[in-house]
């Protein structure tokens, strides 16, 4: 006889609310459905009631983890419509901030995932390392969460002491190489709980349209940094990370190796940081009539903004598509036929973000 097991909306694996309805036969999961919307804030609607300067503050609140990415994508869409060229130094600083954000997001996920499989010491090691990333973000922006770095046409703040940031990032890279990579790729506990678990086939990955590390762990070589290059990724020579085993292990490895690539990109960007202005001399408050789609690779995958302007200081429409919108539904394909006890790590392997999904 099948059982129905509701998990959530408030549950032990995540800080955010969403609900899993699990149907299982004995210990085997037959099907899963997901409910979201518990933190819906109508940010898209609010954005068409505010002007462009206010909207930068608003969209930074879509997500507490990838806040910087939202102001970046919104700015890029507005810059596309207005044909604004972003200064070189600003492009490099945008890249550095985006990769620091990826580092702290992947480390946060790795800590939560470790806790979900009962690996408490690993959780503490990872969070100690993540604190160092947060310190770097605070050195640059003055903030640990909403950095207010992006404006339309450039960035609000300079990196005034690149050497200090460079030394800190090298220390973080050493920590990742010493602790995270060996444990996430060879530790018996990690391997036993992740190898062959929660498989999302390449075909299912295409059908569900998954993005980011989920897609790359299912063998899809997609990454906005490579496919629709922006900021300074082309100059810095971005290298994509993929795996083809399609399981939780593959998602762990993709994120672990991506952290090393993020460190490499930040180090190179700091060493090659060009001079020049940070933003246009005049604050951009009005965008000409037009429409644009902008894409950026957030830590969880592709973020898409559609922006439509009528030439006033307030957008006609701001559509925000976050990676979790596409990644969370794929839990259904990952869960069928899996052991009930693996559901915590399977759903955590998606790195679901409810603030992003609900907007």
């Amino acid at each position: 006889m099948p059982y129905r097991i509701p998990i959530g909306p408030y549950h032990p694996a995540l800080e955010e609310p969403y609900k899993l309805n699990i149907q299982s036969k004995g210990e085997i999961v037959e099907d899963v459905s997901v409910e979201v919307g518990f933190v819906h804030r109508a940010i898209e609607l609010l954005a068409q009631r505010r002007n462009y300067v206010q909207d930068l503050v608003l969209v930074e609140r879509v997500c507490g983890i990838c806040s910087n990415i939202h102001t970046l994508t919104f700015s890029m869409a507005a810059e596309q419509i207005a044909s604004i060229r972003v200064p070189d130094r600003a492009r490099y600083i945008r890249t550095i901030m985006a990769e620091l954000e990826r580092l702290h997001s992947h480390l946060l996920w790795a800590g939560v995932g470790s806790e979900d499989i009962g690996f408490q010491t690993m959780f503490m090691e990872i969070y100690a390392l993540r604190e160092k990333v947060m310190d770097v973000l605070e050195i640059i922006s003055g903030n640990r969460v909403n950095y207010s770095m992006n404006c339309i046409g450039g960035v609000n703040r300079d990196i005034t002491d690149p050497d200090t940031v460079l030394a800190a990032v090298r220390e973080i890279r050493a920590g990742i190489e010493k602790t995270i990579i060996p444990i996430f790729t060879a530790n018996r506990t990690i391997l036993a709980r992740t190898r062959g678990v929660g498989v999302l086939s390449r075909e299912d990955a295409v059908a569900y349209g998954v993005v980011g590390p989920i897609a790359r762990a299912s063998g899809l070589a997609i990454d906005v940094r490579q496919d629709f290059s922006y900021a300074a990724y082309e100059e810095l020579g971005f290298k994509i990370v993929t795996q083809d085993t399609c399981d939780v292990m593959a998602r762990v490895v993709v994120r672990a190796l991506e952290m090393l690539e993020s460190c490499r990109l930040i180090e190179k960007a700091l060493l090659e940081l060009p001079g020049g202005p940070l933003r246009p001399s005049e604050l951009v408050t009005v965008i000409p009539a037009g429409e644009a789609v902008a894409r950026v690779e957030a830590p969880r995958g592709e973020v898409v903004y559609y922006l439509k302007s009528d030439g006033s200081d307030t957008p006609v429409r701001v559509k925000i598509r976050t990676p979790s919108d596409l990644n969370i539904p794929s839990v259904r394909a990952m869960a069928r036929g899996q052991a009930l006890g693996d559901m915590a790590i399977i759903q955590a392997s998606v790195d679901p973000c409810c603030s992003c999904t609900d907007r």
């Binding site: 979201v36 919307g37 819906h40 109508a42 898209e44 609607l45 068409q48 009631r49 299912d204 295409v206 059908a207 569900y208 349209g209 997609i222 496919d227 629709f228 789609v293 894409r295 592709e302 898409v304 559609y306 439509k308 302007s309 009528d310 030439g311 006033s312 200081d313 307030t314 957008p315 006609v316 429409r317 701001v318 559509k319 598509r321 919108d325 596409l326 539904p329 394909a333 609900d358």
Partner: protein, 147 residues
């Protein structure tokens, strides 16, 4: 760019000519485009449905833009609802499931044939379509907002 795909897109029922706006971005405005034929073609080609954007039109209709990505090219196909309805592509493309449910919820569009047309973000007892208010200068005028 995939010239074969471009030709096939332009010969779909209800299609119009593609417009290249940037090196990697193609747009089509085709109010009566057969979106199920479009979804089947894109699935066959290995394209992924990135998202769909809804914009409220006057008279209770809605403009829906289907954003697909194939390799390093973005395809943006703009259609219009009829009686605020469109055929669902969720039976063809799993990615459309939540996207269409969200548009049903926020813009009151009916996607005919959706396998699970339940509200995605808001409780079912609330009226659908609260995102239909105008934005930009028209929205400011409607709200009596000063510059």
């Amino acid at each position: 760019m995939n010239e074969t795909l471009e030709t096939r897109l332009e010969t779909l029922p209800g299609a119009a000519a593609l417009e290249r706006r940037a090196a990697h971005e193609l747009w089509m405005t085709a109010p009566a485009l057969d979106v199920t034929a479009l979804a089947a073609l894109m699935l066959e080609q290995g394209a992924r449905l990135s998202t769909m954007t809804a914009l409220a039109l006057e008279g209770g209709e809605t403009e829906v833009i289907y954003h697909y990505i194939l390799g390093q090219a973005g395809y943006h196909l703009r259609v219009h609802t009829r009686s605020n309805c469109l055929p669902s592509v969720a039976p063809i493309t799993a990615a459309a499931d939540w996207i269409e449910r969200e548009i049903m919820d926020l813009f009151a569009v009916t996607f005919i044939g959706h396998p699970n047309p339940a509200r995605l973000l808001r409780p079912a007892q609330l009226e659908a379509g609260y995102f239909r208010e105008p934005g930009g200068a028209a929205g400011k005028a409607a709200r009596g907002q000063q510059d």
